[in-house]
Symmetry: C2
Subunit: 306 residues, 2 copies
């Protein structure tokens, strides 16, 4: 038995999409006065969206469905190249998610650090940060707890230090990084993690970030939490099988997930951020006036292929 | 087949509890030089911990187990009093979790706003903030995106405006608030929410916060996400049954969950926060030097009753 959608109007709901509960007339009025985030996106021009290079897309096939990751070679060229090699050798096929830590991360790949890497490398020199120079960066005016400046670069939440001229990716929800041991250069992409809870900004500049989950997050965020230290599943029977990891470019177009991501370097994006910073939806009584870099979901839409 | 714990040493793990992977000798050395958060807690004096008044504890009984909530009457006296009345009338017994929004909230109680409230009230005047005067407050020196000052008050993450002399609770992971409609005074505790993902600080001062989940968070955070707008389960068959909600004081001591919470107004807590701010575990290479109020888990421990 379905809950009638009309009943939603009576729901004592709250929060970021509360405008959806408003009567259409009120929504239209609001969109005219000061657009809500949802209204902003609905009226965004086609040019505000971008496709993703299929060579930068990983498909992680779980029994429950497909998780889609956009890689960030501009931040971690050596790691991304190595991950592509691992993927194309089938390194992750039949591997597992072996760690799920509540309000923190899921981690997958090779937990032993001993599985053969073939023509790829087991360890790659760390890429924790990069020069800020020549890097597109849409800076936020909002103060940040952790970094001198935060914003977005090519669709990824990032931070920047103007004095030292360095930039790095931020450990926000959905961001993907390479696990490592205590040695900074001991990662290489054979084990990867995704942030499934609150931001883990204390890891910024401590791991090589390699991308972001752009679809399928809830397949990861709802996994049972591990019972061991750091959320490791102590019983191997609890490990979640990864059927395969593939690169979109290696699949025929019909088998790809047709996605587009909102560009982060356009007036549309700036307006979208402003709509989040000062919510004008009828539900909000005290607009925050500020917004955190990790509280700005980067919109992704399904785009039917031609 | 169990994964031997010894194998953890080889795990390419990372993150907040990575010290647990170190050899004991290294851990002991580190605890001496600069304690890790885990070492801090292990050596905390008994006086650093506190019991919770059983009249301020809610037990939410789900089919999967018990969720424990500590109420915050110092921030929302009218709402907490009303919620106690609702609970003692059995208002929530047999009710449901009807909304689970990924990286946001779960919401439970009465979605219709029409269920009889008996001797309680359906709507209670908003308690979004309170005077800062006479409120215990352990301020953090770290900058915050949303508020002039953040810190902890009686075990809850909070914010303060010294100029206007106001204080309010922060929508961090695990915090519990009262849902409402567009009218500020339309809540009352008949529907409650808990933050299950990243902080929802844009809701600060927009909802009446009534407490915090102190145990059982993963029972909420792993629930399947709703398929409707705002994460509402469109199909009532997906609603998660709440068998009962009870106040600990109304149960015999043997049926209570014996918990203690780390006090937030002691030197121990300040040292714990500093250990999070500047991680000295061997895994960390660049200590953040700052810490966000929502990135400081307030420790809870099981305390066997005498």
């Amino acid at each position: 038995m379905g809950l009638a959608l009309a009943a939603l109007a009576a729901l004592p709901c709250h929060g970021q999409d509360a405008a959806d509960n408003s009567a259409p007339a009120v929504q239209a009025l609001h969109a005219h006065l000061a657009p809500t985030p949802a209204a902003m996106l609905a009226s965004a021009p086609e040019s505000a969206w971008r496709a993703i290079d299929p060579d930068d897309i990983l498909y992680v096939k779980l029994p429950q469905g497909r998780v889609v990751i956009e890689l960030a070679p501009q931040f971690a060229p050596r790691y991304v190249a190595n991950i592509r090699k691992l993927v194309r050798q089938g390194f992750f096929d039949g591997s597992s998610i072996f760690r799920v830590q509540d309000n923190a991360v899921v981690e997958w790949g090779d937990p032993s650090g001993r599985k053969s890497v073939g023509l790829a490398r087991r360890m790659v020199a760390a890429e924790f940060e990069r020069p800020a120079r020549n890097l597109p960066f849409t800076a936020l005016p909002d103060p940040d707890t952790y970094a001198p400046q935060v914003g977005f670069s090519d669709g990824f939440p990032a931070a920047r230090d103007p004095v030292f001229g360095r930039a790095w990716l931020a450990n926000c929800y959905g961001m993907v990084g390479a696990a490592r041991g205590n040695n900074v250069d001991s990662g290489g992409g054979t084990a990867l993690y995704a942030v499934i809870g609150g931001p883990q900004r204390q890891w910024d500049r401590n791991t090589t970030m390699v991308g972001r989950v752009v679809a399928g997050m809830s397949l990861l965020s709802t996994l049972p939490r591990g019972d061991g230290p750091l959320g490791v599943y102590l019983d191997r029977h609890h490990w979640v099988r990864i059927e395969s990891v593939q690169i979109a470019a290696d699949l025929p177009p019909a088998q790809r997930t047709p996605l587009e991501v909102l560009r982060t370097d356009t007036p549309t994006f700036t307006q979208y951020v402003e709509a989040l910073r000062n919510r004008r939806d009828p539900w909000f009584k005290v607009p925050a006036g500020r917004v955190s870099v990790c509280s700005i979901p980067i919109p992704v839409r399904s785009k039917a292929s031609n």
